[in-house]
Symmetry: C2
Subunit: 120 residues, 2 copies
DNA sequence: GTCAAACTACGACGGTGTTCGTACATTGAG
DNA sequence: CTCAATGTACGAACACCGTCGTAGTTTGAC
């Protein structure tokens, strides 16, 4: 990309406002095992991790896809830091929008013995 | 069907045991607006309703499909009563398996103004 | 037995989701 | 500048999901 265009766009990322987060999008985002694992890892003190640090069992393209689904559904917030894209849970926003939902899902995942591949 | 076979099968319906309910199946089942509406209606004192009583904006075949997804994921329990198939929420089973999850989802739906078609 | 009501099974269709490889963009280090 | 690291965009392949119509099953009423 040309230098002017680079400076102009500044690598912005689209996020829904807290009010725009839709329940069905959140539930759909969380119904995938890989995305559920990402959310779990983020909740376990691994906030602000680069995508590559998750060591997911999928290709880089697929990883990008899952992070985008989580971001566009309002579950995570992402920002650039050098060549890396850092991710963190939108814990407070979700608590305001859908009280108790995220914690219930995370508790549920910890109780579900059928979910493999814990990283913590 | 022959009379003998009818008596033999007795119109059984498959349900997962409480221990077999999987989080991802539940979240996936609840991420559809029509199924979310069914669950909401069932939670609003409309327990033990026949499928047709929901007046869903889809065909009967599609309705059957959605009720089966809810049943096979462990969200509802169904039993025959005459020609009707009665449905009820597995509230206690879900609370035991994934504490707080169902109530959080129902609360979230009531807070989500983007969800149309409330029947109550 | 006959008939209507409630529901299912099946196949089909279009849309969407997940996955990947390849090519490209951006950044920071040397 | 060059290069490696990180990640994206794009298209393709494949499977799955939601929807429907049609035909059939089961039940209860007559």
């Amino acid at each position: 990309m040309a230098r002017a265009a680079r400076a102009a766009q500044g690598r912005q990322l689209e996020h829904p406002g807290t009010d725009q987060i839709r329940l069905e999008d959140v539930l759909s985002a969380l119904s995938d095992p890989i995305r559920l694992r990402i959310v779990h890892d983020l909740s376990q003190g691994h906030d602000d991790m680069a995508c590559i640090a998750f060591e997911l069992p999928v290709s880089k393209s697929t990883s990008t896809h899952h992070f985008r689904v989580l971001r566009e559904s309002g579950v995570i917030r992402q920002h650039y830091e050098g060549t890396s894209r850092m991710s963190r849970l939108r814990t407070d926003d979700l608590e305001e929008r859908f009280p108790g939902l995220l914690s219930a899902v995370l508790l549920a995942r910890s109780m579900d013995a059928t979910v493999p591949g814990r990283t913590v």
